[in-house]
């Protein structure tokens, strides 16, 4: 059952520290586990409701930009680095070769014009806490030569195939500020077919 607002936990940063407010764990009684055949005690359940905090640090701008319809990446601009000019998506705060802070670049347009499916997989299974509709169509997105990596994402509309052109879509209405605010659709998908809350 979804929690009411009174049962939810929120966190702010105040004076340089994480400050929780609201309810963070609802205690649920443990239950004994018996062997149905022998009637003997085998163990106990240990139910627990936990909330983790994920610190985005230098990646925060990537996740914040998704809700604004922008795909941000980073590029090494260090003249002394062999990776100079390489664009990283997934976004890397530092260049993996020279460890200099990389320059943040907007690759929304590049993605709109160049993104292609490098590989994909369709799965009918998921783990607990999954919120994606099934089957899930995982795709790996390649851009152009400048982008030296291959982004993992989900194809929301259309059937995946290696080499097919795809276009990013963004959860601009009620963003979750997670990677779930970014998905892809096949090129040419009408805006009316996009999932609730998503725009090009």
């Amino acid at each position: 059952m979804p929690k009411t607002d009174e049962e939810k936990g929120f966190v702010d940063v105040v004076n340089g520290r994480y400050k929780p407010r609201g309810v963070f764990h609802i205690i649920e009684k443990n239950q004994p586990i018996f062997n149905k055949d022998s009637g003997k005690l085998a163990g106990v359940t240990n139910p627990r409701d936990m909330t983790y905090i994920h610190s985005y640090g230098g990646e925060a701008i990537f996740f914040e930009s998704l809700g604004k319809g922008k795909l941000m990446a980073t590029r090494c601009d260090n003249d002394k680095c062999e990776a100079k000019g390489s664009i990283f998506e997934p976004f890397r705060i530092y260049c993996p070769d020279c460890l200099r802070k990389a320059t943040i670049v907007d690759i929304t347009e590049k993605a709109q014009k160049m993104a292609k499916i490098h590989s994909f997989i369709i799965t009918h299974r998921s783990g607990a806490f999954n919120t994606l509709p099934k089957p899930i169509k995982f795709i790996n997105v390649e851009f152009d030569k400048e982008v030296v990596t291959i982004l993992m994402s989900v194809l929301s509309v259309g059937e995946p195939e290696i080499g097919k052109r795809v276009v990013p879509i963004f959860r601009t209405k009620d963003p979750t500020y997670t990677i779930m605010d970014l998905m892809f659709v096949l090129e040419g998908t009408p805006e009316s077919d996009l999932p609730e809350g998503f725009t090009y």
Binding site: D97, T123, G127, N130, M152, I162
Partner: protein, 473 residues
Amino acid sequence: MIKFSDKQLRIPKLMRPVYLVTAGMSKFGRAFPETRTEELCIQAFTAASDFVGMTPAELKQYIHTCYYGHFADHFGDQLLGESVIHDRLGLDPLGNIGVKTGGATGGSAMWEAVKAVASGYSDCALALGWERMDEVPTDEGNHLISAAADKDWETPLGHMYTGYYAVMAQRYWKIFGKEEESFRKTMAEIAVKNRGYARMNPHAHGPMKITVEDVINSPIVAYPLRVLDCCLMSVGSACGIVCDEKTAYEITDNPLRIYIAAGSHTLRVADRRDMKVPLLPNEKQGQYDDLGKKFPGGNRYPGFTGFLAARVAAYYAYHMSGVVDPTEDLDVVELHDAFTISDIQTYEDIGIRPYGKGRDYIETGDAYVINPQTKKPGKLPSNPCGGLIGCMHAVGATGLMQIAEIGYHIWNRWDEIHEPEEKWKAFGREKPKDWTSLQVKGAKRGLAISHAGVGSHVTCTILMDPNKLIKED
């Protein structure tokens, strides 16, 4: 990094020879609802002491430091689980440490133990691993496994590790398998072989007598992978004990030389940049120049189709031990067959076959204990224990089980571990009427690959009869 310096490519050196003296393993199963983890670990340790004719208490007298492989703390709801096991094994106050490298955890625990002995810190070290994934509901288990992917960039997408992994299989299937029916059949042959071999192993959790058709008709997990293409999820424990030369011969007359090396690659497959193929001793400069021509789309290395970590681990281990061509120089291998297709990828990564030709290892019959075509012994039998598909994948124990199995072949004592009627009975398993020995006759050298998920960590262990070394010290 995509270019490596000479310093980084330096061949690792053990400061003194290290020997595997004994190994042991528990029964493996999907779940042990009425058994505590320590009971399985004690089972594995006791098997190791029995193997050298000692009591556990006698064997413990030799141990100086302990390396525990246990990957998923969050499954057991117990941090410092290593300390629990260490105490239950009665090994306090010896120094101990936990090792966690996903599916490669068992191999990595051995990597640490070998280095401890090689450096002179310890004369005898224990590497012991275990895993238990049966103590949470399956979907929560899937979520917990998916936490081994990047928590912000991957895990939220389905909370399902298969999704992050199988895209590699898909790419290999399309580029190198060319979506051919014959390739699909070869994948299935691996599942048939390994599940069939598991039938001869009382420890094994997933023995099955099946056909290629059964595999091809089994339910799809993530196309092209079907249920019978995938490894097991098991509970159990395995261990190995390594020593310097003097201590080794105090414990046994037949210790085995052990070499081990490790490699790594990005946790997110997404981050893999193109590079030149690092070559193994049996490969030639320029031999992969036309790979993209023969297999359109295959010019990206390692891309989604190769495991750089496995290649680098093999590179170090082959040079350390003098192996030039694994098919010629080795007699038996235990590979990390997480999926039939990743098994084929590994044949290429470790040089059993060149890139693009992995399938040939199965198709020629070389990978079988008895080559089904010639009815003669296979050139380099792979996974006679059943592997991860047929025997077990109890993450932290897997790499150690594989090392133990290679050891049993070289010790020529495979039958003693797998045949006794009493063991089958004690494990509550029925010994097949057609039980056959899978002892690789005359095995003197073997290899085990321990591999994590999408290929973030890989170890390569090589065991040799000390009278059959390739390279002088």
